[in-house]
Symmetry: C2
Subunit: 479 residues, 2 copies
């Protein structure tokens, strides 16, 4: 029954355990995010960790090979969820829901190359808010961008929301002269501009994807205009070639509406129009966006003119973790499951990456896990009062007070004080106190360092103990 020789005891590749204060800290971040979701009327949803494999099929394009499958053990064939969007779409179609704001915070699974130090894991949390339903154009989209702004305000993190529009991208490619059959591959090459220089991207377009060099140069010229949303809109609107393209016209109309809504919602100053943003997933159909931790800087934003010329400046900084949230509009996904399409727009927060970013300024001070340590004076001649320590513990537990005692029949006093180190309070008693129906209550913090075992604390009757403990905890905690 023992383990095989040479078997290394570990968690599976790209996964890790979370424990104690790290976990509590992460839960606090989840709490902060979900409180923003609740302000917007979000309904929580929890779906199974695996879905029928067929539900996930044909949703992830080039990334499909990263899906974890369950073994065929007879019965249904299933896969671990890859994101929270597809389970949400499956749920909408299955329950025939036409209008909802739902949020979900849960783990997703991708057989990707892990980089744990940069918060890139195979098992990681996503934190999604989506608005489903047919509404007037761009209102829900604007609310999603407002939620993004509010979440990062609540987390006190400066961000830039890079936005683009699938129809604008399609129009731009068409006007530049990209043949229809190359649209997807050129789009996915362009999407690499957050990792590669323009010259590398251009080389991929021309040499690997067979695009004419002059077409690639036109694309390069267009996406150089990325940055300030008003200027990019003006550039696109004033170009007669663009305004003749139906996709471009529709996309620009959406973007003008969006800008007016983002002004009302006080979000527009966080937004940068990035014409190179393409987003990998197949299902996006309108607005798309990615959030990075860089602050916005007017015209010279994510994809600056110079950046396109210089390959060096495009390399990610060491501390950069890539996008920390992303999303967009996907109006056709739900229709792949049900009879009717349900328009949706939503955002997914990469909370593990957000944690990696926030980690740097996290206060590492450990909070005590216990309020009161219950200890006994026990000489050679006396017992360790274990039963009495248990009774006091039960009394405190029943009052919701976090209490502990040594799991020994006869612990000595130095052992007990050592265990109580860094805790706020101690309840101490021996035969004298017990005979009088009393215990001693001693404040250990904040000057616990001296371990002054001679200060025996104040005498309190058993009946008043809970009240006195609560009173003292309020004082020590407020210190």
């Amino acid at each position: 029954m023992s383990r095989r020789p040479g078997f290394e005891l570990k968690t599976p590749k790209g996964t890790r355990d979370w424990v104690g204060s790290d976990l509590a800290w992460r839960e606090d971040i989840f709490q902060t995010i979900s409180s923003v979701f609740k302000r917007h009327g979000g309904t929580p949803l929890d779906t199974p960790v695996f879905e029928l494999k067929e539900v996930l099929a044909e949703k992830y394009g080039e990334d499909a090979h990263l899906v974890y499958d369950l073994a065929d053990q007879g019965g249904e064939i299933c896969s671990l969820r890859f994101d929270l969007t597809v389970p949400f779409a499956r749920w909408l179609a299955m329950k025939k829901i036409t209008h909802v704001k739902r949020y979900q915070i849960a783990k997703v699974y991708r057989r990707d190359q892990p980089a744990i130090s940069r918060g890139r894991l195979r098992e990681f949390h996503q934190c999604d808010f989506d608005i489903a339903g047919l509404y007037d154009p761009m209102i829900a989209d604007a609310e999603i961008l407002s939620i993004i702004a509010e979440v990062f305000e609540a987390l006190d993190l400066k961000i830039t929301i890079k936005i683009n529009h699938r129809q604008i991208l399609d129009g731009l490619f068409a006007v530049a002269g990209v043949p229809d059959e190359k649209m997807r591959s050129i789009s996915s090459a362009l999407d690499k501009m957050d990792k590669m220089s323009w010259s590398e991207v251009k080389r991929e377009m021309v040499q690997e994807k067979g695009l004419l060099e002059e077409v690639a140069d036109r694309i390069g010229d267009y996406v150089r205009r990325s940055g300030d949303i008003y200027e990019v809109l003006q550039f696109l609107e004033s170009n007669p070639g663009f305004s003749a393209n139906e996709n471009m016209k529709a996309g620009l109309h959406d973007m003008r509406l969006l800008v007016s809504y983002l002004e009302a919602l006080d979000v527009v100053n966080k937004v940068s129009f990035d014409l190179s943003l393409a987003r990998g997933l197949d299902y996006y159909s309108g607005l798309i966006f990615e959030i990075i931790t860089k602050p916005p800087s007017g015209n010279v934003a994510v994809v600056s003119g110079e950046g396109i010329q210089s390959s060096e400046q495009r390399k990610p900084e060491p501390s950069q973790v890539g996008s920390i949230a992303a999303g967009g509009r996907y109006d056709s996904l739900v229709g792949m499951y049900g009879k009717r399409p349900i328009p949706c727009v939503g955002v997914s927060f990469g909370v593990d990456r957000i944690c990696t970013v926030l980690e740097e300024r996290r206060e590492k001070a450990q909070k005590p896990k216990i309020d009161v340590y219950i200890m006994a004076f026990s000489g050679k001649d006396s017992n360790g009062f274990l039963l009495e320590r248990m009774m006091v513990a039960r009394q405190l537990w029943d009052a919701g007070i976090r209490a502990e005692f040594a799991a020994k029949v006869k612990p000595n006093l130095p052992q007990q004080f050592k265990a109580a180190k860094d805790l706020p309070l101690a309840v101490i008693f021996g035969q004298d106190e017990l005979s009088a129906g009393q215990v001693r209550l001693k404040v250990l913090l904040p000057d616990n360092d001296e371990n002054d075992t001679k200060d025996r604390g104040q005498l309190v009757s058993r009946e008043d103990l809970v009240e006195e403990v609560k009173k003292l905890l309020k004082i020590t905690i407020s210190n």
Copy 2:
């Protein structure tokens, strides 16, 4: 890209979605349980949903075939976690931790026959508290039983804790005359007494497992004594055959200690000594227990004398969901991974079954998801004030107030009142109010039914809006 004809859109067998108030209600139950865990100094742990297959190997005896495996897609071979105990033991061994109280609330996976109406699923939550470390005997065991009592007190659920001891069971089988090689199979037959009558169990022992009938009868005679812990202890201690058995002697010593501790912790009145309790899992080595929702009833407890005679009385009641928590001591499990054994004792709460039991008395009233609905008076001649509604929304969101508005450019008033139905407050404005820098604030609850659209509410300046909303929310919520 559309779904295959005949493909039924569903969640995988034995799984389900949770949504909205159901999910929030379940989270509240988790919260109640984990607050008890925190009182006892528990450290939270979160482990990956899958483990290396080797970590799970040889831990689950007859149940091993219920483990979900991941497909072999190259790289490590993994399985979904089957419980939270094995990941905990793996973590202890991996991190070389010798003393900890840890808790974990997470989903586990078993390819079992599901029965969703009875809360029996293939994906279900467990909620575990375990104490690892070498302490004086039975103190940690008693604390675990106190935690069980406190959890169900906090959930206001009457329970019986059925306890037994693996060494007592071994001694009892030895004295009854069970050959060593039949110990495990007879133990697992006996464990079915919560589902089958004694005559059925006896038939399995004699006809399937080849036990002598007189030995089976002796076992039946012993386990008939189950019930009141003091009486069972006295019966076992006063029998000279038992007291000569080393296993029995050690087990009885543990149980006597435990009883004194349970008295101090005020838990003994919830305990019933069930000599038929065996627990399926291989790794238990000492105290074992199972919690059922029946109240204790003195001598005539879980396995009554009559129960053994009558096959009818042993059938589970329709509303019964089986055990709602279970656990025990497992001193050798961690040693299977590391060099040193770490003694452990712990409990696992079956929270989905607990939810099924609590469901009956749950208040189904929906709480409003939104505090304030923002609406505009918009005639034919005016616009719908969408931008202004957005600005007010952002103002309320920033103050932490849950607010919503119609995602329409020109919504009409009846539509907006309909959307605001069952919400506490409405902010309403038209051109007049806006020109004066004001809005109207209208209390919708509790007499919202009349949809009195003529009461236009009180006038409030934009600057005072947040404060006034907070004031009114306090009043409407306290109503």
